[in-house]
């Protein structure tokens, strides 16, 4: 295998490691060396594991002994700092005093370990996975810009080759937004597909787990390990887990692609709109049937997700509110946690009624299409410290703009992926979002893979 090891995809590394052509120790050393060299600029890791090389040596011995555990065996994977881990501290991005989280493995970390992955470190999260900036992490494509969030550490680390893949969590877009901003693939699986046991809760009914990777095939390999029933997570469903790799490599011809013209194509930056329209045209030229549609109910979604997210987060932090710890949170998170008290019970339940209505609308949409596509975010990565951006000639807060296109899939729980679809005039990545039917990650991956293969976006690397 030629070139720098840290640039290799999981899809290429796995067979090479299995065949003994690449050592898990070598790839782990390459990632640790990369962290040493460039993470001073990015600050994407809050903790680097002391055990990573030992785990890699164990993997190497096992593989040499013919005990290959699968595609993740010996592969360095970053873990977002809101997933509990037994051998690395968890902070959930908070420096507030008198907060501690247990040293035990979350379900996802346990699955990765059982698959032989090398948990190389904890990637930074916006405090309690609440925000979209992830300080102090920098975007590898432009260090003056944010990686988005809240899985901003995972996005930056994967984009820069500091680990082969990483875990993220997504309550309103926190896997897909940093994936779009950093030029990686990010999949929010269906609600109930991946166990959230051991993820510090943000909003119980909106929180999703999933991977960030550099390619769609790598996401499929990560999902093969992460997906599956876990009785400990009340949301987890005992749905059969397909062989995700079998979905890849198939043509798009015959797929029906929905393009929702309201909401998802309103108020977006010109370069984002152009890139996504070009992606739609490319898919049509490749034989997909493009069906334009509208979902008017989306107009009411922002109030619904705020009502659920704010009240849930405040309920989770109630003990900290009573103990007076919340004023020690970061100012933006403090405000959000305090204001959750203002959401009334009827508003919360109205939001949950709205979710049912929106899910029904999507069910009808999926009677005539296989996927719904559009931009992941209306904007590309914004400058650090900037709280307002120009969108379609008008100022808009980044908090409002960044998650406008992602949160509908947290409300509906549908699987949604972000795959790179170009760069704006400043050289910043743009994401294409593809959503599918419940538990139909395979079709989402199929289309994302077909699009990715027909373009060269994944072959570009940030200069660091």
């Amino acid at each position: 295998m030629n070139g720098e090891l840290w640039k290799q995809s999981l899809e290429k590394l796995a067979p090479a490691i299995r065949a003994g052509k690449i050592s898990p120790v070598a790839i782990t050393e390459a990632c640790l060396d990369r962290i040493e060299k460039v993470d001073g600029k990015l600050d994407s890791f809050i903790h680097v594991s002391r055990h990573a090389l030992d785990t890699a040596r164990t993997a190497e011995r096992e593989i040499k002994a013919g005990k290959w555990r699968g595609a993740l065996h010996g592969i360095p994977v970053g873990v977002k700092d809101n997933y509990l881990t037994r051998d690395m501290p968890t902070t959930a991005g908070s420096t507030a005093p008198n907060l501690s989280f247990p040293l035990r493995d979350s379900a996802a970390a346990a699955r990765l370990r059982a698959a032989g992955a090398v948990l190389i470190g904890k990637t930074r999260t916006h405090e309690f996975a609440w925000g979209n900036v992830t300080p102090p992490v920098c975007n590898p494509w432009d260090l003056t810009r944010v990686p988005s969030g809240s899985s901003g550490g995972s996005g930056a680390a994967v984009a820069a080759g500091l680990c082969v893949a990483a875990l993220g969590s997504d309550t309103g877009g926190s896997i897909r937004m940093p994936a779009a901003a950093c030029g990686t693939v990010g999949l929010k699986a269906t609600f109930g597909r991946v166990s959230r046991d051991g993820i510090v809760p943000h909003s119980w009914s909106l929180d999703h787990a999933g991977p960030l990777t550099r390619t769609v095939a790598d996401t499929a390999l990560m999902m093969q390990v992460l997906a599956g029933y876990d009785a400990v997570d009340p949301a987890c469903q005992a749905q059969p887990v397909p062989d995700y790799a079998r979905a890849l490599g198939k043509p798009v011809a015959g797929l029906k692609i929905g393009v929702c013209r309201n909401h998802f194509f309103e108020n977006l930056q010109e370069d984002v709109e152009s890139a996504v329209e070009k992606a739609v045209a490319d898919l049509a030229a490749a034989g997909a049937q493009v069906i334009e549609l509208k979902i008017p109910l989306l107009e009411y979604g922002l109030g619904a997700i705020f009502a659920i997210e704010l009240s849930s987060s405040t309920a989770y932090h109630d003990a900290s509110l009573l103990a007076g710890r919340v004023p020690r949170y970061q100012p933006d998170v403090r405000t959000l946690v305090e204001m959750g008290r203002l959401v009334t019970g009827p508003d919360y339940l109205k939001a949950e009624q709205y979710r049912s209505a929106l899910m029904e609308e999507y069910r009808k949409v999926f009677e005539s299409v296989d996927v719904v596509i559009g931009p992941t975010t209306p904007i590309t990565a914004w400058k650090r410290g900037e709280w307002t951006v120009q969108v379609a000639g008008k100022p808009e807060s980044v908090l409002a703009a960044s998650w406008r296109f992602t949160y509908p899939y947290n409300l509906t729980g549908l699987p949604a992926i972000s795959v790179p679809c170009g760069f704006d005039r400043d050289g910043l990545p743009i994401g294409l979002q593809i959503a599918g039917r419940p538990f139909d990650e395979s079709t989402v991956l199929r289309l994302a893979h077909a699009y990715e293969r027909a373009h060269e976006w994944k072959d570009r690397w940030p200069q660091l």
């Binding site: 009785a231 705020f306 204001m339 008290r341 203002l342 949950e352 049912s356 209505a357």
Partner: protein, 64 residues
């Protein structure tokens, strides 16, 4: 905008024990969100069951 003077009697009910200046900041920040929640309130969803299902068997769930 929310007038803090009008909301004072409700603050204790909300359990939001904040100094007056801080309360004003939180209310101001909540203003934009309340606009969206008020829009949601205009929907007639009388016949729609909320997306919450109480599951009395939950404590008995086991991993197969």
């Amino acid at each position: 905008m929310i007038d803090p003077a009008k909301i004072d009697p409700y603050v204790e009910m909300f359990g939001l024990d904040l100094p007056p200046e801080r309360l004003q900041e939180v209310l101001a920040a909540y203003g934009d969100i309340l606009v969206e929640i008020r829009k949601l309130r205009t929907l007639d969803l009388t016949d729609v069951h909320p997306a919450i299902v109480f599951e009395p068997t939950a404590p008995y769930r086991k991993t197969p």
